[in-house]
Symmetry: C2
Subunit: 120 residues, 2 copies
C-alpha cells in the first residue's frame, strides 16, 4: 500500500454548543464525514469527559479522523488523515458544517515515507 497520505489539521471556533455536547450526534457526524469522503469505517470510539468535553476517533481503512471538543470554549480540534485518493477536506468541511463552526483555521500536511510537507 502506498504510504503517502494527506493530513488536515483544523481548529473549529464558535461552534454550536448544543452539537458540541451531543456525543451521539458527534459520532454520527464523524462516521458520515468519513463516508462522504469515500472512506471505509473500521472502528468508532468516542469518550465523554466530566464535566464536559468529548474525544472521539474513527479509524478508517485509509487512516483516521479525530476530534477533541471543548464546549466551554465552543471550540473543537479535529484531524482528518487519509491515504490513497481520498480528499480529507471533504470530511473536514462536512464536520465544520455539521458543528456550525463560525471560524476555522486549518492546514494540510503531506505524510508518508518522504518528507513531511506543509500546505497552508
Amino acid at each position: 500500500m502506498n504510504t503517502m497520505g494527506r493530513h488536515v489539521i483544523a481548529e473549529l471556533k464558535d461552534c454550536n454548543l448544543e452539537k458540541l455536547i451531543d456525543m451521539q450526534y458527534m459520532e454520527r457526524v464523524f462516521v458520515d464525514a468519513a463516508l462522504e469522503a469515500g472512506a471505509e469505517v473500521r472502528e468508532v470510539v468516542f469518550h465523554k469527559f466530566a464535566p464536559y468535553g468529548i474525544s472521539g476517533v474513527v479509524i478508517i481503512s485509509e487512516s483516521h479522523l479525530t476530534i477533541h471538543s471543548f464546549p466551554e470554549h465552543k471550540y473543537a480540534s479535529i484531524d482528518i488523515y487519509t491515504c490513497g485518493d481520498l480528499d480529507p477536506h471533504v470530511a473536514a468541511n462536512y464536520i465544520m458544517g455539521s458543528l456550525e463552526a463560525k471560524s476555522t483555521q486549518s492546514l494540510e500536511l503531506s505524510r508518508g515515507i518522504g518528507p513531511i510537507k506543509i500546505n497552508q
Copy 2:
C-alpha cells in the same frame, strides 16, 4: 480546560519488522508511551488489516496517540497530541525506541484556539 496543546507528527522509517506486525506489542507500547508521558489512558483501539498493517489509537484525557503501520515498507506514521503540561516528545521517543526506528522525521504543531504554529 485550557485548549492549548502540543501535537507531534512523526514518520518512523526502517522499523523492526517483527514489532511492526505484532499488534499486542504495539498496543502495549502505545499505552506505556502514554503513561511514560504522564497521560491518563481512556480508550485503546487497535485494528489489524489484511494482509498486513495496523492502525491504532489511544485516547488519553489529554488528547490522543495514533499509529498507522506499513510493515511492507518498515514504516509507521505516528501522532502524539497532548494538552496540559505533558511533553508529547516523551511518548514519541518511547515509541521510536520501541519500534527501533533507524530514521525518523518529525515536527511539532501548537494546537488550540490560537493560530496553529509549526515548530520544525
